[in-house]
């Protein structure tokens, strides 16, 4: 079953910002796998929405609360990197997010053709350093590798970057 693309408009209003946002999504079901495809703008205000969508998919797939927290963390870190480094926080530029899941398994893909960025070049943090010695940065990508089972990254010849990560529920393994 394939639905047409649907548009969602929503507003974020709080003491610090007021922003109207739009994203598009499409739902597909193939065999036991369910899939949601999204087009999001390069605006960090959408991160809460993205986190909630990934958490809902994780819940649907039967992950426990801690695993759902891990999935939400990983998708936030990847989309945050995409918006800040890839799209330079430009809300007129878009990235694609794919969330696909079945019982006990979730896979998340982010496609974006913005600025070159190689997560493999990011230095891992020194987890034992004191506050004074600890360097800033490198934590986001480290988190993703830590909480997801499989993480892959590649850039195709047209400059389209794809970040793919997946996780299997402990209770189903």
């Amino acid at each position: 079953m394939t639905d047409d693309w649907k548009s969602v408009f929503f507003s974020i209003i709080n003491p610090h910002q007021s922003v109207n946002l739009q994203f598009q999504f499409q739902f597909q079901r193939g065999g036991t796998m369910q899939q949601l495809l999204f087009e999001f703008p390069g605006n960090t205000a959408i991160l809460e929405k993205v986190g909630n969508l990934a958490a809902d998919a994780g819940r649907n797939a039967g992950f426990d609360d801690m695993e759902i927290g891990d999935i939400e963390l990983a998708v936030d870190e990847i989309c945050s990197n995409t918006i800040i480094h890839g799209l330079k926080r430009d809300p007129t530029r878009m990235f694609q997010l794919v969330i696909q899941w079945e019982k006990g398994f979730i896979e998340i893909l982010v496609h974006e053709d913005g600025e070159p960025f190689n997560p493999a070049a990011v230095q891992p943090p020194d987890l034992t350093a004191s506050v004074e010695e600890r360097t800033i940065g490198g934590l986001g990508i480290f988190f993703v590798h830590k909480v997801m089972d499989k993480v892959e990254y590649h850039t195709n010849k047209d400059g389209m970057k794809t970040f793919r990560m997946s996780k299997r529920a402990k209770s189903n393994s």
Partner: protein, 112 residues
């Protein structure tokens, strides 16, 4: 993200409510930096109502704690929810920072 601030015994209690991610971390950093510029070097960050923290939030906590310790002050963390505490633990910052059960325990430690 809602941020409220109370001053008690020369300690600034910053109470966060909402997600502490790359969308909201700059707000928190700005509010704390404004207090530092006024000569406040002792802070308690109450995170009881924070249900999600990302690396951007931890980055702000780390840079602020670094600055404050240079002024013989500190940023104490209070009331972490289970999922949030897990992120601190994965980062190793649970060992580097001072984390307390609640804001009262953090305040007592500043007094000692």
């Amino acid at each position: 993200m809602n941020v409220t601030e109370n001053m008690l015994n020369n300690i600034s209690h910053i109470i966060l409510e909402g997600r502490f991610d790359s969308d909201t971390s700059a707000i928190v950093e700005k509010i704390i930096r404004e207090k530092i510029e006024k000569g406040v070097y002792r802070f308690i960050l109450d995170m009881e109502k924070v249900l999600f923290v990302a690396s951007a939030g931890l980055r702000v906590i780390l840079v602020i704690a670094k600055d404050l310790r240079q002024h013989h002050g500190d940023l104490y963390i209070a009331s972490l929810q289970t999922n949030v505490r897990r992120v601190f633990e994965i980062s190793g910052l649970d060992n580097a920072l001072h984390i307390f059960e609640d804001a009262e325990a953090a305040a007592r430690n500043f007094d000692e």
